[in-house]
Symmetry: C2
Subunit: 336 residues, 2 copies
Amino acid sequence: MVTMRDVAERANVSIATVSFVINGTKRVAPETRARIEAAIRELGYRRNVVARALASSRTRILALLHPYLEARPIATANQFLMSAAHGARERGYDLVLWPVNDDEQMSHLLAGGLVDGALLMEVQLRDPRVDRLIASGLPFALIGRTEDEDLPFVDMDFTTTIDQAVGHLRSFGHRRIALVTLRMRVSTGNEPGWIMRVKSAYLAAMAAAGEPPTVITVEGTSAGGRKAARRLSADFPQVTGVVVVNEGASAGLVKESRALGRSVPDDLSIISAATTAELGEMIEPSLTVMTAPATELGRLGVNALIDQLEGVPDAPPNILIPCTLVSGQSVGPAPA
Amino acid sequence: MVTMRDVAERANVSIATVSFVINGTKRVAPETRARIEAAIRELGYRRNVVARALASSRTRILALLHPYLEARPIATANQFLMSAAHGARERGYDLVLWPVNDDEQMSHLLAGGLVDGALLMEVQLRDPRVDRLIASGLPFALIGRTEDEDLPFVDMDFTTTIDQAVGHLRSFGHRRIALVTLRMRVSTGNEPGWIMRVKSAYLAAMAAAGEPPTVITVEGTSAGGRKAARRLSADFPQVTGVVVVNEGASAGLVKESRALGRSVPDDLSIISAATTAELGEMIEPSLTVMTAPATELGRLGVNALIDQLEGVPDAPPNILIPCTLVSGQSVGPAPA
DNA sequence: CTGAAAGCGCTTACAG
DNA sequence: CTGAAAGCGCTTACAG
């Protein structure tokens, strides 16, 4: 292994000077710099990240924490990861996906000193991970919001998204519009904050429209989606439009509705929000979707975190971004 | 931050002794150990992972490298990640997903000293990453195989999988059976090794059956799947059975076949291999799938890597695991 | 069974 | 503009 010492010897300087040119932390005479850079090239030197981390007490590694990786489809989560990783790299950081499933693993990660900061996805209304994060003193940013919104976050703009989804259906003449969203098998408060926010936005939109609301929550699986279809058909036959905010259940909902003899979109119009266009295309008929702003959120989230780490003075305020409508074949005129 | 020194002082021992009890690396008198453990508890001490890494030149961090995260659906990749992460943790390691997209990032990762080893997914026949890995001296294990199979790997057993898929279709009376697999936009040799292996296995199976082969390669998207359906319908109308090994294209293939007036499975039977059951359920009709052994491969891969790191003498030989058939509604008797 | 000390490969005041 | 040196928080021969 070639170390900074090797480079220093070859360039006839001290290791401090080598460090200065590598990091650009101090002015170095051009000729000296050139000699050092040549030595680095010739030796193929690469700075040891671990030693640097110990000496500077900064690792420049950021952890992305996502709790539900095994449980549900996560088409958007990968977009988020890649976007955040790119953003991190541009600013000299590595962002890695760190599987963390329990308290012990969380402690290990937080106390180990291996990451400079954390990006939390699927934030819950009352999120014990956030408490730990705060207690540990590790800088973090949230993708999503807790109950109180005084922590640094970026998030989807659910109000705008739901308004647009409902508005889109209403523009096709639909009046009875249901919401199908996610049910978690966790205690109240431990569910992702977006579920509550989606419901609120939906209820507000229906109130504004003067129509009665219908909320159905099911698991984020095809089986969950089928269950939702049966409930809609059996208990709410008047409903002609559905807003789904449940990535994993959308396919099952469409399939089972059709199996029950309800044509999509002739009998039932469906719009799936907070998902990807590619996922919508997998379904028959291709879903009208509202694509999640995963790429934008990834960048914003990681930048918010790094701003914080680097003490950027005018860190931007918390930001909300709505989903984007992509028309498919699952929305049509309300049946007469 | 509470350090080992703090613990040592409180327990009236040297930091060496603290280190010994934390790591269990040396016999320590029971009373001393108890005193130290009490001090650790009382101070809430957690070992600094970075310092440990520098001192021991081991970080106990493993990187999972996956090149195509942005490009294609990766339902199985997450299963793999979670399984490997669990396996790593049981042996005292952390396994993280490290987004690496180019040479520079690869060098950074390999030379930085931050990871003890790497697990490579989507291995190509001639994989430049493998060359770099070898050159860097970093231990690694492959999920998949390069052209020459002399490197440590675990992989799917494509021969058995394809034999079973073809056999399953033939047991329903199908004779003309096509293969739909993945086309990469990369130069030959740089494509994932499994593509070639799947083709070979398929060709061998058809030869054994005495039937002419039909191979169609398309992108791993819904659009790619639709294209495959059109080609099948237009150019190979005699084909009544299809084996798909292209996770992202399976939905499009089914959709477009039906749109072309070909019922699944009445006119066309489809079996999708190397995917997940949940993905199969999203499609109408639910696909008969062969689920990828992602969980097993994750464990085996990470164990092979750790065995190597720890110099386990009888490291198991390379292992191949076939997919598992899960019947859906997409396979039926061949049309008369 | 325990400790003193060197060392892992860097960064960073401090001095010149 | 450059260098000598302390220090980051551990591990690990070595000695006793």
